[in-house]
């Protein structure tokens, strides 16, 4: 039942000793990068001064802005020739955050994905349909390599093309799918349309749900409809991608692989660690990354550690489903979107007024983004065609940037609520 029993079940003290040993190496490696080299010099930190796990607090936090500002190579700790792959965070354009991997990085990442899948019972005999986008996004290739390592037969279906997905499941006896939860819900209507009942007409037994937060209720719906056990998966490209934390068969929180990462939960206001079991922002440190070590990365994801041991026997602590974000990032259909991206695009379009509002709705099983945009007073010439052209232009421009087609509604100048202080840009009406 264990992929690496010694690692997964090692006593806590031993795991922490392993973490410390790896942390020292990781900090040492990081100091070879421009970013951390300069940072350590500036604050007078000697990597040799890290002698306990608590000493990690001597290292300042790293943020997404740091990654952006030192794009593309400022975090590299190895010569460029040692790199074998890059990935990038999903959705964002402009200055996306880019992560580089050496062969060893890919191997370690593949290993934790394989470990995660194996933990849920996936074996060589399984047929794994990977319904995630392949490419810069880590969800596709990350799972692909992990499943290959387990030895399952992979159907690299990629995302979209719903009817073909169902056909593939039937033709090749798919047992395991990796899917974005909102797409899993959407796909239920396609199953009904083509008259296929996944419980009766497929061999599905498990689903990996990733790339966007979802509720327990959504999981139950998916399990019910597909006749599977659905496992929550957590990852972010800055920390490799999927495989950072994963649910075991007890489905009560995700084991975060602490031999690969140091987990901290901090109070985002005070930056101090919270008490075990309290909610806060997750901060992660890579322990085995060679190409681009990242120390104390602020994930902006809110969660807590579930106290106490898990019945499965693994010592790696469990985090709860992600509760939200400490920034205003939206996750829609698995794509990460920052309201600032939309604001920048809108303000470049002539005819757009001063205010806008993003509304997220759930229509059936589909998530929908509505962008209400105030029209500039001086733009209006009394012509409906002109307004319609503006609306279409906004749709096209946003679509090219955020990869999702929003519904755009033009509203009168001053029609949107003015807020005092920080503008309210997003209303999330999605409920489960």
């Amino acid at each position: 039942m264990y992929w690496e029993e010694a690692i997964e079940t090692m006593p806590r003290e031993k795991l922490e000793a392993l973490q410390l040993e790896r942390l020292k190496k990781s900090v040492e490696k990081a100091s070879g990068s421009i970013f951390y080299g300069d940072l350590f010099k500036k604050i007078g930190l000697d990597p040799k001064g890290i002698t306990s796990l608590e000493d990690i607090r001597k290292i300042p936090f790293t943020t997404k802005d740091d990654l952006r500002e030192h794009w593309p190579y400022g975090f590299l700790a190895v010569p460029k020739d040692d790199l074998v792959r890059m990935h990038s965070s999903s959705g964002t354009t402009g200055r996306a955050t880019v992560i580089f991997h050496t062969q060893s990085d890919i191997d370690e990442w593949t290993n934790i994905v394989a470990r995660s899948m194996y933990m849920t019972g996936m074996r060589r005999s399984d047929v794994f349909q990977n319904m995630m986008t392949y490419g810069l996004f880590t969800g596709g290739l990350g799972f692909h390599y992990g499943a290959e390592k387990v030895g399952a037969l992979i159907i690299p279906a990629g995302s979209g093309n719903s009817k073909r997905q169902i056909q593939l499941m039937q033709d090749f006896g798919t047992t395991t799918i990796h899917i974005i939860p909102s797409y899993a819900l959407h796909l239920t209507s396609v199953f009904e349309e083509v008259g296929v009942d996944p419980r009766r007409d497929t061999q599905l037994t498990r689903a990996f749900l990733g790339a966007e937060p979802h509720s327990e209720k959504t999981r139950k719906k998916i399990e019910e409809f597909y006749g599977v056990k659905a496992y929550n998966s957590y990852g972010l490209s800055e920390m490799d991608g999927p495989g950072v934390a994963f649910e075991c068969p007890h489905q009560n929180g995700m084991h975060l692989w602490e031999d690969n990462f140091i987990l901290e939960i901090i109070n985002p206001d005070t930056m101090e660690p919270v008490a075990e079991g309290e909610e806060g922002e997750m901060v992660l440190t890579t322990l085995l990354r060679e190409g681009m070590p990242i120390l104390r990365y602020r994930t902006k994801d809110l969660t807590r550690v579930i106290p106490g041991p898990c019945e499965c026997g693994r010592v790696h602590r469990r985090i709860e489903r992600i509760k939200g974000r400490t920034d205003d990032m939206l996750i829609l259909k698995g794509v990460n979107i920052f309201p600032i991206q939309i604001e920048k695009k809108l303000m470049d379009i002539p005819g757009v007024g001063t205010n806008f509002l993003i509304i997220l709705e759930r229509e059936g099983f589909n998530d929908l983004m509505i962008v209400r945009v105030e029209v500039g007073r001086e733009f209006f010439s009394g012509d409906l065609k002109q307004l319609e052209a503006l609306r279409r232009r906004i749709v096209e421009e946003l679509k090219s940037d955020i990869l999702i087609t929003p519904k755009v509604e033009l509203v009168e100048p001053g029609a949107l609520p003015k807020s005092e202080g920080k503008a309210v840009r997003v209303v999330d009406n999605r409920e489960d």
Binding site: V375, R377, F380, S381, G382, D383, L384, K385, L387, E388, R391, E409, L410, V411, E412, P413, G414, A415
Partner: protein, 151 residues
Amino acid sequence: MIAYQLSIFAENKPGRLAKVTRILKKGKINIRAMTISTSDAFGVINALVENPESARALLEKEGLTVSLKEVIAVVIEDKPGGLDGLIQLLFEQGINIENAYGFVLESRKKAVFVVDVDQLDQTQKILKNAGFETLDTKALSAIEPFHYMNY
């Protein structure tokens, strides 16, 4: 002659038209004709009113987004084929009508057909040469309701 039509940008929801007519009533502005065109979530209210300049000022003071649009108000006969004569002429001359609406001036005798076209000058010339009477804003305001007197 050119007439001015009020075009008001409005969200497509209950209460927007009511706001417009309330403001015009308060300003004692008479409405000659009105049309609404919508595109899903939003639309444009077009109104031919007496004294469009002050109507615009009143509406804008209440926060509405208003534009004065040049249109042509053509006098036609209020009888079968009255409109057809005008439309066939515009068609033959290759004039495309973006928006149009009409109202009766004198039952069975006279009506006004308001057209919104891209080629304003050319259209005016064509109408003049064909002998059509057009009304400007002042003339539209001055029109007496003849049909009352006919009773």
